[in-house]
């Protein structure tokens, strides 16, 4: 693998539900230290694509390659290869504390595979608490900018829940992070926290796939943007090129560029 090889690539990914093509023949690449923005209207297939990459859903067709090796198997297996994600509808254990939710990514990373799961069971009985974990929770909380570790997750606002999800994913130390609408319902503080995490991962040479409806934010943060429409890639290129493209005009304003010009 040379430096020019992508960190993660997908080719010919498709998924349909009973005749409706949610994602059809989508290919993409993500390089180390790159943020790939994914925009498009509702139902364009952005979340489905994230699901196909992370293994939350099985693709009908298509191949994925992560650092030179095929990426296959279930969601848990792919996470073990270095993928982490957040969810459009935050998936926090509302019954648990903020600290436990933040640590879930790191905890899960320690229990990957049957052997570690069994060892973790024994270790859990012998030594339920490690002071280092509390420190890790505080570090993760600081990275995303959230406080009140001992609150119940159910008491968080939507924006705070999104931050905890980002922190949880960060705790798994992923090489590719997929963020599904991290800015929806987030205030300026939430945006800043997520942005900080994106910058840290980019700086560390990891890859980020950023899905959001906030075109301004995505085009500001991303190195490259993919515009999706009805399950297909309508445009791919630099943020500036994308914003200026006729496809962008058509997808978001429903008009051909000539009409806009006239």
């Amino acid at each position: 693998m040379t430096t020019a090889d992508p960190l993660l690539s997908g080719s010919g990914l498709s998924k349909s539900y009973g005749g409706v093509h949610a994602v059809s023949d989508v290919s993409f690449t993500l390089h180390a230290g790159e943020v790939l923005g994914l925009i498009g209207p509702n139902g364009a297939g952005k979340t489905t694509l994230v699901d196909l990459v992370t293994g939350a859903q099985d693709a009908d067709t298509g191949e994925l390659v992560l650092t030179g090796s095929p990426l296959r198997g279930g969601a848990a297996h792919r996470a073990a290869q270095g993928l982490a994600r957040t969810f459009q509808h935050p998936q926090l254990a509302l019954d648990l504390s903020v600290a436990d939710n933040l640590l879930l990514g790191a905890y899960a990373a320690r229990h990957r595979g049957l052997g570690r799961l069994l060892a973790g069971l024994v270790r859990g009985i012998l030594r339920p608490h490690a002071p280092a974990d509390r420190a890790l929770a505080e570090r993760l909380a600081t990275s995303v900018g959230i406080s009140g570790l001992d609150r119940h997750a159910r008491d968080l606002t939507l924006g705070e829940q999104r931050l905890v999800e980002v922190g949880r994913a960060l705790g798994a130390e992923p090489c590719v992070l997929l963020l599904d609408e991290p800015f929806a319902g987030a205030d300026a503080h939430g945006v800043a926290g997520t942005t900080r995490v994106i910058e840290v991962l980019r700086g560390a040479g990891h890859g980020v796939i950023l899905v959001d409806h906030n075109v301004d934010l995505v085009t500001t943060l991303a190195d490259r943007v993919m515009l999706m429409e009805r399950g297909r890639v309508a445009f791919e290129g630099s943020p500036a090129d994308c914003l200026a493209s006729p496809e962008m005009q058509r997808v978001y304003f429903g008009t051909a560029p000539e009409e806009v010009a006239s």
Partner: protein, 300 residues
């Protein structure tokens, strides 16, 4: 090894087929009761078997211990069953389900209800099995070499009548169509302001009525004790799951298939094989075709 002759002896034995019909009708009725609960409340009521048992058991007790006439005891049993079903919905299932905690708490709540009904029956009416006291029986007669018992004709007639009535009620009446709409999509129904609670209550009441008629009539053949409750519940659930939830007639098919297994597997292989076989059949059906033979048509 089952010889060909033995095989034929079973399959051509009319007595066994009569048992299939009788069992099949009973299982189908229990399945139909489940179907009503599922349609109106989107919920498997594991209390069905206990309700059927309680109706039959109470009826028998009233006849043998208190000299009530069978029809009167039947009416008391049926009304009691409807009352139990309604109380279950109002006092247990609705409050628990309304909290939206998912299936687990509803399942435990229904399990506790089932257990409570069994214990109540045992405490007040005794744990010993009683002979059934069906409100309607016919004089036994013979068809060729086979003897048709006193409860066969009634249960066939009741089954035919209840399935036809259910079909008409659900397809042809406004409330029935409403009920099905609510079972299909409770959230949408709520948004549309449909009378969800009324439909739910009616579906519980109908399930109680059907279960009671099934239990009282079938007990005439098999007898009844509180121990039957759990079995009857599982049987009705299996009849519905195997038949499918796509049409009101589906439990009839599920009940028939279960009855075939219940009669012929013990005949050929012994009663134990039935218990083991049921586990396997249930597992396969639940895992690979949980929608049953008649699946609901999917509307995209």
């Amino acid at each position: 090894m089952v010889g060909l002759r033995a095989g034929l002896r079973g399959m051509t034995n009319p007595q066994l087929w009569i048992a299939v019909v009788e069992n099949g009708c009973f299982f189908a009725l229990l399945g139909l009761a489940f179907y009503f609960n599922l349609t109106g409340a989107g919920f498997f009521n594991f209390g069905i078997g206990a309700i059927a048992m309680a109706a039959a058991f109470t009826g028998s007790w009233l006849v043998t211990e208190h000299g009530l006439s069978r029809p009167l005891a039947g009416v008391v049993g049926v009304l009691g069953a409807i009352a139990i079903a309604v109380v279950m919905e109002l006092a247990v299932v609705r409050p628990v389900q309304a909290r939206g905690e998912g299936e687990l708490s509803a399942l435990v709540a229904v399990g506790a209800s089932l257990f409570t009904i069994i214990q109540l029956s045992g405490l007040f009416l005794g744990h010993e099995a009683r002979s059934g006291q069906p409100f309607w029986s016919t004089a036994p007669f013979s068809v060729g070499s086979a003897r048709v018992g006193s409860t066969v004709v009634p249960i066939v007639v009741i089954t035919a009548a209840l399935f036809t009535l259910s079909y008409l009620a659900l397809q042809r009446t406004r409330l029935g169509r409403l009920t099905r709409a609510i079972g299909n999509d409770t959230d949408a129904a709520r948004v549309l302001g449909l009378p969800i609670n009324t439909a739910r209550l009616l579906s519980f009441a109908a399930a109680g009525l059907i279960a009671a008629l099934a239990g009282i009539t079938f007990a005439g053949r098999s007898g009844v004790s509180p121990d039957n409750a759990l079995h009857w519940t599982i049987t009705g659930f299996l009849a519905l799951v195997i038949g499918g939830t796509g049409t009101v007639w589906a439990p009839l098919l599920g009940g028939a298939l279960l009855a075939l297994a219940n009669v012929f597997i013990p005949f050929y292989f012994g009663g134990d094989v039935l218990a083991y076989g049921l586990v396997v059949v249930a597992m396969l059906f639940f895992a690979f075709r949980p929608e049953g033979v008649f699946a609901p048509r999917v509307r995209v």
